[in-house]
Symmetry: C2
Subunit: 337 residues, 2 copies
Amino acid sequence: MTAPPPDSVEAARRLVEPFLREAVGRLDPMTARVAGYHLGWNDADGRPARAGGKSLRPALATLSARAAGASPSRGASAAAAVELVHAFSLLHDDIMDGDRTRRHRPTAWVVFGRPAAILAGDALLILAMDTLLSDGTQGAVWAARCLSVATQRLITGQAADMEFETRQDVGLDECRRMAEDKTGSLLACACSIGAMTVQAPQPLVTALAAYGSEIGLAFQLADDLLGIWGDPELTGKPALSDLRARKKTLPIVAALAGDTGAGRRLAGLLADPAPLSEADLLEAAQLVDQAGGRAWAEKQAQHHLDVSERILSAAPITPDIRAEFLDIARFITSRDH
Amino acid sequence: MTAPPPDSVEAARRLVEPFLREAVGRLDPMTARVAGYHLGWNDADGRPARAGGKSLRPALATLSARAAGASPSRGASAAAAVELVHAFSLLHDDIMDGDRTRRHRPTAWVVFGRPAAILAGDALLILAMDTLLSDGTQGAVWAARCLSVATQRLITGQAADMEFETRQDVGLDECRRMAEDKTGSLLACACSIGAMTVQAPQPLVTALAAYGSEIGLAFQLADDLLGIWGDPELTGKPALSDLRARKKTLPIVAALAGDTGAGRRLAGLLADPAPLSEADLLEAAQLVDQAGGRAWAEKQAQHHLDVSERILSAAPITPDIRAEFLDIARFITSRDH
């Protein structure tokens, strides 16, 4: 079952996409084509297409401006900047991880080659910063700093994620920290950057960032579950992809950490340097489940959602803004697509 | 003959390196090791080394602060930011171009693999922006915008450089524009960013940026000549590397553009899709010379140096600052190492 995104997400996409297109339009034609393909706007030959992401971060960023009493359009350029950083990170992650499929299409580096994809990622990152710096208001500068710090954490998280692939002794704490860096930091930024842009009071900004960090962890746990049990038809990625890549995601690390027979068999499978067969992968997924990794991750995701709700309840925002934030949180953690 | 760098270059290195080390020290250990290797501070295992670049951009950036009447230390963090962008671009260019040797050592991607090198480049770019944004003064924000615009042009130049490798009809104008983007933009930024940081008057900033753009072109022409005729012992790169990669550098494009027999033979050689033998490469270098590409590039380099001197003569700076700028310009365009 695929739940439709809340209306606010589609509204944010319509509001922010012109800012994104304006930014990407400043690139040279070849780099713009690679970026446009990655963003789902065009096919490999540059013909218009529609295969983009969900605009969740833009929705959160514009909502964050509204939470501070501003119109959503005041958060639009910050929303575009966050989405550009998100696009940059996926583009480079796909190269680093060797992932060949995203959203049911070949990844950009498969289509255009690594050099063009590396360069397009670089371009998206600097466009993100430039989008805020060209605004020049004090709020935009505050937002730019937030985004540069979030991007640094994102890079730290990706470094840990890659390092974990070759390690058998990854602990649950360092794995959670990796998820906080890789996913939580940019969602925390998305949830607070609109408020920063309009120079909202610090307590509101802090509460929104804390909220974003919690839903980031909930989202990562949901994504990790999909990385093992997600339907490729819905996820747009190959089945069992995280196990195939020997990723140490949270459910897998939880399964390994528990002192169970299934966990020990899983450890043995993953430590074996020989390539994993399809039968191995199916067995590994079963062992994660039997060792309690699946139930643990589901419970943790719910826990972080609960915490995020409590943070929002205490935040100085109106009930309708609160309801919209919660709608988006529920959508991104229940998505199976 | 290798001329020693002016004293101001070594002084700038000593002033700026602590800022660079502080920035890189904020990275996770693995990414810091890759970045430190690329910057020449450590070997592949993390042991201290000394194999760094020349700190030309930091020297220009700190001199730019002094040109505005400030102490060089006022330009140090901006100088570090420019050097971080320069390091980012070399790190990613080496991957994109497949270059295996830089400064007599294997390139970072050869030592650490592409994924770690891509990530380290990303980290250096965002550190550059963060270095200026964390300062937060209005001058630093102006400098950050200058750097983000220069980085965008640098990326545009790299895109053109890569595209030219597969094209036989590259014109001299678009080739010059590529060099302006790829090399001139960051040198223009280096020469003016220190003045921006201390909020110098616009006419001074504009003059220094124009100066930097001119010496950038002179430097690129000198570098292009080294890319064909440079001694590998001195350049730290393989002989004839630009011809080997079928780069369309300025002397090569000038040779192809002139209506000469040598130019036509060169065009035939470079259009042949078969790999070029060592004999082909030596012949191609001779043909560039015979077709006038070498003499043209030497003359053009001198022309841009002359223009840069005229710009400096008219700029509102003291004679000793002017002399230091000229010393650095002469050094970087006469270097054969």
